[in-house]
Symmetry: C2
C-alpha cells in the first residue's frame, strides 16, 4: 500500500484494484479518479502509523487532533507490525480495508465486532476498520474504537476514525454504508430521499476518488435501493455491479416465516428471493423458494396464507419487534450484513442463491434498466456475483414485481438532480417505508 500513498492511483472502468493498476502502470498515472473531488479540499498524504515493532523500547503513541478531519490510527492500532515478519501471521492473507459509515450507531456496534472477530472474512484474513462518523458523533467513534482495543481481536490490525469520506474511504476494498439521516417528524419520503441522497452522492464521489477501484459497496441506510443508485451514479469509475442495497434481512425473515408455517427448521428453506425495493412494495418470492428441496407451494398447501399473509408477516416483522423490544433490530440487521458479505466471499452452495439489490442493466428478467433492484444472485466467492436465470414467474409474481419496479422508477425521478438526470420530479404515491425502520 506504500505506493498508493505516494501517488494517485487510477481507476479504470474495468474496476482493477488501485494496487494492481499501480504496480502495473505506475509510469502513466491518470487523474480521472479526481474528477469528482471538490476543489476546495486539500488532502495531505495519509498518516501512516506503522512503527517497526521493537518491544524493548517504548514508542511514542500517535496522538490525534480531534479538530482535524483526517482519520488517524486509533490507540493501540497505531502500534503495528509487519504482518509478514511475524511467524504466526505469515500465512495470513493481505490486509483488507473495510469502511463502515454510521460507525457510532447501533447496527455498527454489532457489525464492527463481527468484522473484527474473523467470522465474516475468515480466520486468516487480517482486517483494517475505517470508521466514518459525523462531527457530532466523533467522541462516540472514539468510544467504539476503545471497545475494539479492549477486545484484543488478533485479526484486527488497524482502526481509523474520521468524519471526511475522502479520507476514510482511502484504499478501502469494502464500504458498508449504514449511516443515514433518520426521517424527522412529518418528513415525507421524497424529502428523505433528497436529504439522504445528498449524503450518498457525496460518498459515491469520495469512493470514486479514493477507494480501491474494485471496492464492493453495501448500502444499508434507507431508502437503500435508491441511495445505492445515487452512490453508483456518482462513482462512474467503479463498476456499477459492485454496489448492493441490503435486502438480506428481508430474505432471512422470509425464510423464517416459511419455516414457521411449514413446521420445519429454517435451515430447510432455500432459494428465497426478495424482488425489488427494500420497502413495502418488496416481493418475497414463494414461487421459486424451496423447502427440503421441494417447491414451497407443494409443502405449504395453504396458498391463501402465502398470497395474503406471508408478505405482510415479513414486512411487519421490524414493526412488531420495535414494539416488543423498544429498539430497532440492530443485532439481526448486523447479522444480515455479515451474511451479505459472506455470500460474496464464499461460494454459494450448489443449487441455492441469495438476494441482493443490484444495478439492473443487462438483467435477464425484463426489469427496467438503470435502477437498483433486489434479485437472486450466486457467487463463486470472489466478491463478484452473477444473476440467477433459472427462475420462474407467474402472473401473481409478475404483477407485484411490476409494482415495486414502478416505485423504484418513481424514486429515480425524485433524485434525478443527484444522478445527472436533470430536474427532479417527485410523484411518489404513498409512504412505503417498512414498519420499524427509519
Amino acid at each position: 500500500m506504500a505506493v498508493a500513498e505516494l501517488t494517485t492511483p487510477t481507476c479504470t472502468k474495468q474496476g482493477l484494484r488501485s494496487s494492481e493498476v499501480f504496480y502495473l502502470s505506475a509510469g502513466t498515472p491518470s487523474f480521472r479518479r479526481l474528477s469528482f473531488r471538490p476543489l476546495r479540499r486539500t488532502h495531505s498524504s495519509r498518516i501512516s502509523c506503522s512503527v517497526n515493532q521493537t518491544a524493548q523500547a517504548p514508542v511514542a503513541v500517535q496522538t490525534k487532533d480531534p479538530k482535524s478531519n483526517k482519520p488517524e490510527c486509533f490507540g493501540v492500532f497505531c502500534l503495528t507490525y509487519d504482518l509478514k515478519a511475524e511467524e504466526e501471521t505469515k500465512s495470513w492473507k493481505k490486509l483488507i480495508n473495510v469502511a463502515v459509515s454510521g460507525a457510532a450507531g447501533m447496527i455498527s456496534n454489532h457489525l464492527l465486532f463481527k468484522l473484527a472477530s474473523g467470522q465474516v472474512f475468515g480466520p486468516d484474513q487480517p482486517v483494517a476498520l475505517k470508521l466514518l462518523g459525523s462531527e457530532r458523533s466523533f467522541q462516540a467513534l472514539e468510544g467504539v474504537a476503545m471497545e475494539l482495543e479492549d477486545s484484543l481481536f488478533p485479526l484486527l490490525r488497524e482502526v481509523q476514525i474520521g468524519i471526511d469520506p475522502y479520507e476514510v474511504f482511502q484504499d478501502v476494498e469494502w464500504a458498508l454504508l449504514i449511516g443515514a439521516k433518520p426521517r424527522g417528524p412529518g418528513m415525507e419520503r421524497a424529502e428523505l430521499l433528497d436529504v439522504n441522497g445528498q449524503i450518498f452522492a457525496e460518498q459515491g464521489k469520495a469512493l470514486n476518488a479514493v477507494a480501491s477501484c474494485n471496492v464492493k459497496v453495501i448500502v444499508v441506510g434507507n431508502p437503500c435501493n435508491t441511495n445505492a443508485l445515487i452512490c453508483l451514479k456518482n462513482a462512474p469509475n467503479i463498476p456499477a455491479k459492485n454496489f448492493h442495497a441490503l435486502t438480506r434481512l428481508d430474505e432471512n425473515r422470509a425464510k423464517c416465516q416459511l419455516a414457521l408455517k411449514a413446521g420445519v427448521f429454517y435451515d430447510k428453506v432455500s432459494n428465497a428471493t426478495i424482488w425489488g425495493n427494500h420497502s413495502t412494495t418488496q416481493v418475497p418470492d414463494f414461487l421459486n423458494a424451496r423447502i427440503n428441496g421441494l417447491p414451497v407451494k407443494e409443502v405449504i398447501t395453504d396458498h391463501k396464507w402465502l398470497e395474503e399473509e406471508f408478505t405482510d408477516k415479513v414486512q411487519k416483522r421490524g414493526g412488531v419487534l420495535i414494539k416488543k423490544w423498544g429498539r430497532s433490530s440492530a443485532a439481526s440487521t448486523a447479522v444480515s450484513i455479515a451474511d451479505a458479505i459472506k455470500s460474496l466471499v464464499t461460494p454459494t452452495p450448489e443449487g441455492d442463491w441469495f438476494s441482493s439489490g443490484v444495478y439492473t442493466d443487462g438483467n435477464p428478467y425484463g426489469i427496467a434498466e438503470g435502477i437498483v433492484f433486489s434479485v437472486p444472485c450466486r457467487s463463486k466467492g470472489d466478491g463478484d456475483y452473477e444473476l440467477v436465470k433459472d427462475v420462474i414467474f407467474d402472473d401473481y409474481l409478475l404483477k407485484r414485481i411490476t409494482k415495486t419496479e414502478a416505485e423504484l422508477l418513481a424514486e429515480r425521478r425524485c433524485v434525478a438532480h443527484l444522478i445527472g438526470g436533470g430536474v427532479a420530479f417527485c410523484d411518489l404515491p404513498e409512504d412505503t417505508m417498512l414498519p420499524g425502520e427509519m
Copy 2:
C-alpha cells in the same frame, strides 16, 4: 434429555452431569437437589416442543401463554429436529444448554448472538439458549428471541424464554448470570450487596435444584465476586470451583494498556493476571505479565508508570468510555464473557494463563479461604481449570493483594445472612465500584 424430564436427577458432590448420573444410576434417584426448592412452587413437567420433522405437513406452532412463568420454546425453535437423523448434523456434538440471565439487557444483546453463531463453543456444537428475564422485560425477551430467529443461525437449535430460574435453569450446562439490579441514586454498596445478593441466592438455589450437576457458572452482575460467593454457597451440590466471577474484561484492558505503553500490538502481551475483587481494589499484575515473552518490567522501564498509572488506566477505562460513548461497554464486556468461556473449553496456550474470580479454598497463594478471588488459571479445555502455581510476588504486589482480600472478607461479612454465616455486619470503608459500572 428425555429421561431427565420424566424423573428428578441427582447431583452428587462430585458434580457429575445429570444425564451421566441418570443413565448410570436411574434406579436409585435421590432428591437431594430439591432441598433448596421452595415448597410453594409447583412445577409441571417441562413442555417439550420437539416435533418430528415432516416438511410435507404443516405442524401447529406451540403458542405461549405470556402469563405463565414457564419458559417455553420460542417460535421457529419449537419446530425442531432430530439432530442425529439429519445428514449434516450427524457429526455434531450433543446439544449444549446455556442459560443467560439479564437476557433483555445490552450485554446479552451482544453475547447471545455470539453464542448462537458458533464462535464461542465451536462450529460443530449445537446450542440451546435459555433466556432469563423479569416480568417487566418479558416482551423484550420475545424481541430478542425474534431477532435470534431472523438470524438463521444453523447451530442454534432451541430458544426458551422465561422469568422463573427454576424453569429456565433446567438441565443447563452453562449459566451466564448477567442480570443484576443497578445501583439506585444514593444507594450504598452495602445495600447493593444485599439487593443483588437476594437475587443470586435465589439463582444459586435454582441452579442447585434443576441445573446439570456440573454446570459452569459465570457471574457478571455486580458486585460479581461476592454475588458468585452467594450463588455457590446456595448451591452446595454443585462443585464450588465451577463458579466464576468475571474479571476478563479487566484482564483484556490491562493487556491493551501494557501494549500501548510498550509500543507493541496487544497480541504480544501474555500472562496477565487480575488479582482479587472486580472493584477499584483489583490488582492488575505487571510483575508476572510478559511482553514478547519478557517480564514487563524489563520491557517497560518506566516503573513509576507501572506503579502509579497503569492500574488507574485499567480501572478508569469504563468511566472514560461511558463519557465518550454515552453507554456502558456492553460490546467489549460480551467479548470478554465469550473469551472467559473459550478459555475453559479450549486448552490454554503453552506457558500462558487467564484470569478468573474463583473460590479460594485450597489456593496455593495463601489467600484467605472461602471467598471468590481472581487468580491466574489454566485449562485443558474440558470446562475445568487449575490454578497457576508458577507466579512470583514482591512486597508491592502482596500489599495490594492483601487490600483486595480485606475488601472481599468485608463484603462476605455484609452478606453473612445470605450464605449461612449468621447475622450480617457491614463495615465497608469506601465505595469501590469501578467507574462506568452499575
